[in-house]
């Protein structure tokens, strides 16, 4: 075979092998590592899987924050305007976390419908609300007011 042809063939084979391997791996890895977002209402209805890492979000309910006396354990409620979701977390909360503010939590829902969070994210400045939370609020409000949801 001509040398240039052979080089071109090397290219094509390399590309094919790597890209097909890559596609397989991507499908596998995405399947393993995506976290779905659920609203407190969906978790209350049992839509969210139990024992699988999920994300949830809403407003932190005023007056719901409770700290343990001797550890970093903390519990609070997040609400989408219709349902309160209890969240348990052990660790340091972000600076901008506060009651009455938006937050996103990630973790596992246990059998008592308490979200055992391993990560808590708060909004980053006073004008910003995470898009998930904004959507959550409006959808839940619509449902609570009998206007019907879009899911």
């Amino acid at each position: 075979m001509h040398l240039i042809r052979r080089q071109r063939l090397q290219w094509v084979i390399l590309m094919l092998v790597t890209s097909s391997m890559a596609v397989g791996l991507v499908v596998y890895a995405l399947g393993q590592n995506t976290n779905y977002f659920y609203t407190p209402s969906q978790i209350a209805q049992g839509v969210a899987p139990i024992g699988v890492r999920v994300r949830a979000g809403g407003m932190v309910v005023v007056g719901s924050l409770e700290r343990a006396a001797d550890s970093l354990d903390v519990e609070f409620d997040v609400s989408d305007g219709a349902v309160h979701l209890r969240v348990h977390y052990s660790g340091i909360l972000p600076d901008l976390f506060d009651e009455g503010q938006a937050a996103i939590v990630a973790g596992v829902v246990d059998a008592n419908s308490v979200l055992q969070a391993t990560e808590v994210l708060a909004k980053h400045d006073e004008n910003y609300m995470p898009p998930e939370v904004a959507d959550t609020m409006s959808a839940a409000y619509r449902e609570a007011n009998g206007l019907g949801g879009d899911y």
């Binding site: 080089q7 890559a22 890895a29 901008l96 996103i104 910003y128």
Partner: protein
């Protein structure tokens, strides 16, 4: 009445409009001239480019002045500044939010374009005028974007507020003064090779001489991008307060993807320059690198992502960038589809030739980029298709990136001893024996003392692999240097070669930092009262006192933590919790005792009941190597650009142009 009137926001606004008009002419007339063959039209390009730069610079100076003078009649100043803000932050606040950072972007673009206009004398006029026209088109896009959707000169008249709402405290920091301009220099610098690639496609020609002209531009843009990302990571580490240095956050990915492609481009254009191979691939990479920069802008500025960087966002702006993005990518790929095949390679290579190694390098880097792109865009696509709200976590990215990086390092070691055109595989194996033995044996041994030193449970295979890969790269590079010294004295080696060695050591150092700091990192979050102490990785951290302090624009609670190792004092740390008066924001200011081998990192959490505080204590071995490595990569890139050959060639090209011959150069070396 004096200079305040001249440098008024109105003047800045008008300057911006004039700059846009100049850009419109720059994007059309010279290009048209290059097709109909009117020399005067083509010659216009250079003066227009410089004029455009002057007017954008005037607009920028006007905005800076508005910030320095607390001109709260400007909405943008009101939202991002405050009378109490220290003067250096008033200056950096100019690019702290959307409008100003876009103006900075436009300024940087105008600067690069003017630089191209000045340093392109060695190129044929037809070609230069097309390059400048294409840069002009990008400037039109961004100019329209600025004026239509994000005008920084918008007023709050007739009732301007007395004071501004302050700059986000996270942004009141030296890292944020430097990080965006550096990053933008890199992002926008990639527009030069992009414009160059489009012009080459229009011409249907891309030879070694042109690749040689383009190469320093690619390198410089890539150096800025490298430094910008390094600074961003360093800033996140000490300023976000929690000791992470990379989060696989969409916005970080947005800057990392162009870097990966630009790195591939730096290598592939070297092969094109030296050996005339990979020509169309190089052009394609140039298109991708800039397209990814634009995509980054879209991701950051459109607000489609939940991200720590989403400080302000607006869907209308997102739509504008999305349309602009599809126009740029669509038209350039279409052009490539029609013209790309006309540009092929004429050389051959075999064995473990450097061409092959560069090919592998490019495949790995582009694959890594594609994986990151999928992980970043998948949540957006899923949301648009109503598949649910998804986020892709760091494990996805690590799953791909860690093995790919390892493969890259192994190949990098082999590449160090490869030669252009033909390298016998047997010769490489001959070379590799000692470095392989050295790196594997030392790499297997070192984790044993490291585990003892950093109080880590058991032997870490990940650490062993990291050290093996890193030592392998260093040993192979030194081996090659030794071989080169046998044939030529050190002083005869080119700046390009030293630059390559430095950049490759930078990669190795960075990998060492990433690998070892991930393995041996120790972190404890706990509840502490003054008097409590905790033992982390052999260091005793004692929480001594808390005190209240007052600064110009914030008050803070400061803790005093003293660190000892086996009774011997090591450091006094004073982490703070700051309360900013104007915006009412709270911020954690971590305290770090840095060192090459380990960082001690203490951050103050929230006040809990009584005197106790949440506290995060970390010992992070080798973490500093990550940024030192990044810096070294950047220095390597700059050293390579300083190579004599770029200047010498320019002189030769000048004489060629003067004698009115088409510049055709023989391949050297």
């Amino acid at each position: 009445m004096g200079w305040e009137v001249i440098i008024s926001p109105e003047f800045g606004h008008v300057a911006l409009i004039i700059a846009l008009c100049l850009a419109v002419i720059q994007s059309s007339i010279p290009l048209l001239g290059s097709y109909v063959g009117i020399q005067r039209w083509m010659e216009l390009a250079k003066s227009l480019a410089i004029g455009h730069f002057v007017f954008v610079a005037v607009a920028f100076v006007c905005l800076v002045t508005a910030f320095l003078q607390d001109d709260f009649s400007l909405r943008y100043v009101v939202h991002n500044s405050n009378q109490l803000l220290p003067i250096r932050y008033k200056f950096s606040a100019v690019w702290s939010a959307h409008e100003g950072s876009l103006l900075l972007w436009a300024l940087v673009l105008a600067g690069w374009t003017a630089a191209v206009a000045i340093y392109s004398r060695s190129l044929p006029l037809v070609f230069t005028s097309r390059v400048l026209s294409i840069l002009g088109m990008i400037a039109v896009g961004f100019g329209l974007f600025l004026l239509l959707t994000s005008n920084p000169f918008e007023r709050t008249l007739p009732f301007p507020p007395v004071n501004g709402s302050d700059l986000n405290p996270l942004l009141q920091d030296i890292g944020l003064i430097l990080h965006p301009p550096m990053l933008y220099m890199g992002y926008v610098g990639l527009s030069v090779p992009f414009a160059f690639a489009i012009a080459a496609l229009l011409e249907g020609q891309f030879d070694s001489a042109w690749a040689r002209w383009c190469r320093p531009w690619v390198n410089v843009a890539w150096v800025f991008l490298t430094i910008g990302i390094t600074l961003g990571s360093w800033w996140a580490y000490y300023e976000l307060g929690w000791g992470g240095w990379w989060f696989w956050d969409p916005v970080e990915n947005a800057s990392f993807m162009p870097w990966l492609v630009a790195t591939a481009l730096v290598h592939s254009i070297a092969a094109t320059e030296k050996r005339g191979v990979f020509r169309s691939w190089t052009l394609l990479l140039a298109i991708f690198a800039f397209s990814l920069s634009l995509l980054g802008t879209f991701l950051v500025r459109s607000g489609v992502l939940t991200s720590v960087h989403a400080f302000a966002s607006d869907p209308e702006r997102g739509l504008f960038i999305l349309v602009f993005l599809s126009l740029v990518i669509g038209s350039s790929l279409l052009l490539f589809a029609f013209r790309g095949p006309a540009i092929h390679a004429k050389s051959t290579y075999s064995g473990a030739a450097r061409e092959i190694m560069i090919l592998i390098n490019n495949l790995i880097l582009v694959t890594a980029m594609a994986m990151i792109l999928i992980g970043t865009l998948y949540p957006l696509v899923a949301d648009a298709l109503q598949l649910g709200k998804i986020s892709v976590g760091p494990p996805y990215f690590n799953f791909f990136f860690v093995p790919l990086s390892f493969a890259l390092l192994v190949c990098l070691g082999v590449a160090a001893s490869s030669r252009w055109q033909h390298t016998a595989s047997a010769a490489v194996i001959q070379h590799a024996r000692w470095p392989a033995a050295f790196s594997v044996s030392l790499g297997m041994l070192l984790p044993i003392p490291l585990a003892v030193w950093f109080d880590s449970p058991g032997y870490s295979m990940a650490a062993a692999l990291t050290i093996i890969a890193v030592l392998w790269v260093v040993a192979m590079s030194l081996q090659d240097l030794r071989v080169k010294m046998n044939t030529a004295p050190l002083a005869r080696l080119s700046a390009s070669y030293w630059g390559m060695l430095l950049a490759h050591s930078g990669i190795a150092l960075c990998a060492l930092g990433v690998g070892l700091s991930s393995v041996y990192d120790s972190q404890r979050d706990m509840r502490m009262e003054p008097g409590d102490s905790v033992l982390v990785a052999g260091y005793t951290f004692e929480f001594k006192t808390v005190s209240e302090i007052q600064e110009t624009n914030y008050r803070a609670t400061r803790a005093l933590v003293s660190v000892t190792q086996q009774g011997r004092p090591v450091a006094e740390l004073s982490p703070e919790k700051r309360y900013y008066q104007s915006g009412g924001q709270v911020m954690t200011e971590a305290s770090i005792d840095g060192g090459l081998l380990r960082d001690l990192y203490v951050a103050l959490g929230e006040p809990l009941s009584g005197d106790s505080w949440g506290m995060r204590v970390q010992v992070k071995p080798f973490v500093r190597c990550i940024w030192l490595g990044g810096l070294l990569i950047g220095i390597g890139g700059l050293v390579a650009v300083a190579d004599k050959r770029y200047r010498r060639r320019r002189k030769t090209l000048d004489t060629a142009v003067n004698s009115l011959t088409e510049p055709k150069l023989e391949q050297s070396r």
